[in-house]
């Protein structure tokens, strides 16, 4: 799986810990960058603020985006990502607990690649993560310019 980076945007520390654990359980050993709110995510992607000076050509292979985030909302992050030339083809998977139709529709309308509802059952969640990893990191062919190669 190389050095493909995963960007996890999640504000809930419990969910963050569980997701990282799920990655570990699925033997996904890629570098995981965690952004704790929308602002941080945008800063990382475009190399601003706390991440100023980061090489912006190095983009994550996949962004796991929660919707309810403090400061910048998940959908706003998505909007920014799709608006910028450097990140417009970046695969974004919405990983959220909401099943509300309006969230679903808005996410796809703004250009999300996938929408996964976080199950409460942890075992199920682990399985979902494993499949996520397999698909996006191994199977999927990203657009050129994404990732490090």
């Amino acid at each position: 799986m190389g050095n493909k980076i995963i960007l996890l945007v999640e504000d809930n520390p419990d969910d963050e810990a569980l997701t990282l654990r799920a990655f570990a359980k699925s033997h996904i050993s890629n570098e995981v960058v965690v952004a704790h709110d929308g602002g941080e995510a945008v800063e990382y992607l475009f190399g601003t603020g706390t991440y100023a000076g980061r090489d912006v050509r190095v983009q994550p292979q996949i962004v796991l985006l929660d919707l309810k985030l403090p400061k910048l909302d998940g959908l706003d992050v998505l909007r920014r990502v799709r608006a910028d030339e450097r990140t417009q083809f970046l695969p974004v998977v919405i990983l959220t607990s909401s099943k509300e139709e309006q969230d679903l529709i808005q996410s796809y309308r703004l250009g999300a690649n996938s929408y996964i509802r976080k199950p409460v059952d942890f075992l199920q969640f682990t399985e979902s993560v494993r499949q996520l990893g397999l698909y996006w990191l191994v199977l999927n062919e990203a657009a050129p310019g994404i990732g490090s190669g």
């Binding site: 419990d14 309810k68 607990s97 976080k118 409460v120 059952d121 942890f122 969640f125």
Partner: protein
Amino acid sequence: MQVTDLLTWITQGSLLLITVLTFLDFFRHRDRSRLDIALMFGALGALVLLQGITRGTGVYSRWLRTAGALLFLAHPVLLLRLVQHFRPVPQTVRRLALGGMLASWGILIALDAPYPVPLTLLIVAYFVYVEGYAALAFMRDGLRTGGVTSWRLLLAAAGSGLLALVILLAGVNAAVPAGTGITTPISQLLALLAMLSYYAGFVPPRWLHQTWQLSELQRFLREMAGRSAAERATTTLDHLCRAGTRAVGGLAAVVALWDETEQQLRIRASSNPRALSGALTGSDGVVQRAWRERQPLLARTPADFGPADAALAASVGAGALIVVPLVTVERAWGLLIVCHRRAPLFVEDDIQLLALFAEQSASTLAYAALLSEQQHLVAQLQQRSAQLEAANKELESFSYSVSHDLRAPLRSIDGFSQALLEDYGETLDAPGRHYLQRVRAATQRMAQLIDDLLSLARVTRSELHREAVDLSMLARSITAELQQREPQRQVECAIVEGVVAQGDRRLLQVVLENLLGNAWKFTGVHPCAHIEFGALTHEDQVAYFVRDDGAGFDMAYAGKLFGAFQRLHAMTEFAGNGIGLATVQRVIHRHGGRIWAEGAVEQGATFYFTL
């Protein structure tokens, strides 16, 4: 018999008839004006009568003839009394008339026919002058007033005028005997026409009378036609005042409406700005009596006025009042008060006509009240709707936050319990691991509960979009999915084809998912299960059913089936939190249908529903 004789017969016959009718009329309603009318005709008829008696009995008596002529000559003075009803007759005219009458009488008594021409001309002059004066007075008043009264006055004027003409011709005959041949038939004709005019004017036949009233009513209605209901409501009272005044030739009219809050009559409209305004107080008088009795009343003279009546009359200079109540069957609205200078001659007509107008206006008022109540109700409804919508929106945002925020801690509980199990399971003993399992199981249940509750809430507030839904197809896809999830289960699904119903597609899907899901679940114990879906006729309605041969239920608890959180089986037997059927019931009820179930323990269950 010559034409002239025939004409004479007709004229005299009709005159006698009319005289009799007027006297009958007087005996029926004993009032001054009728007496005057009867006397007036009587004066004319007496001559004819006496002539007839003379001819019939053959008794020629100069005195009889003279008496007839005297009475005939009294006619103009009697006619003047009728004119007095409309306008004061100047002293001079009255004196002249009286003088003329006495002079004529003197001539007739003292002398014998044929009379010297100058004296004849004197008599003729008296007659013609007074009749002419009366005719002019009637005509002037007839033109000034309106309605039925106008017609009658004009006819009376015509009658008087024609009669004057007849006497004039007689005078001409006396002066110029040569022209008798031409003038006599003309006189006869004119006399006949005069009789007819008098008849139609003073005692019109029913049909004629009603025709006039009808034309007045038509005019009244036509003025209101073509206006919107709201417009009519605001203008009807003013219109009533004006039309009422015009139709009966009054001075002015006001409409007083009953004010519920103040418990008194208040003047709301008038045809004359000088008229009294404000409240009509007092318990005496014609106005208050008419209101109490809900009957039309007439105050003939100022003597009949109560204090409030007098105030109103004084403001416009009236000497008589007609009061007509505005009533509909449900409610009494108020009064129409028409002021006259003096009591009208033909007052019953006036009252009848005004009553017709009043009825129309009362209907319009009732309609206006209905409209305003409707508007009020609509406003209330809109307000309620707005409130409901606001409440719904609040609920929606609440549900949304529930769906999101409640799950996160649940996920943490489950996740870390599992993490504990996986990473530190060896350090725990069996009961310890078991506890953690139970923690996890509980969180799963809670998650399911949240989902079901949200589903239930969503069902209640979502809009119903009715369309034709193929229930058979829906059932097939649901059972297919159920089979796919548990491929190891053997279930025979008998689904009747072509069952289509009118309803909301998504909600009906929820119904079938629940019912078929339940059927699937409760047949889980049997190695081979049967599930059916179809439709049948039940009490003239189409009823759809889902049947299974699974665990069934005790009919004794049938009432509890659809209660939220109600379960008829232990948790250990079958999973579930008891929301499903409550949701189904809510959907069915929103469609206006019914749902019920039949079953027996271990013999399966059938759920029926209508839409």
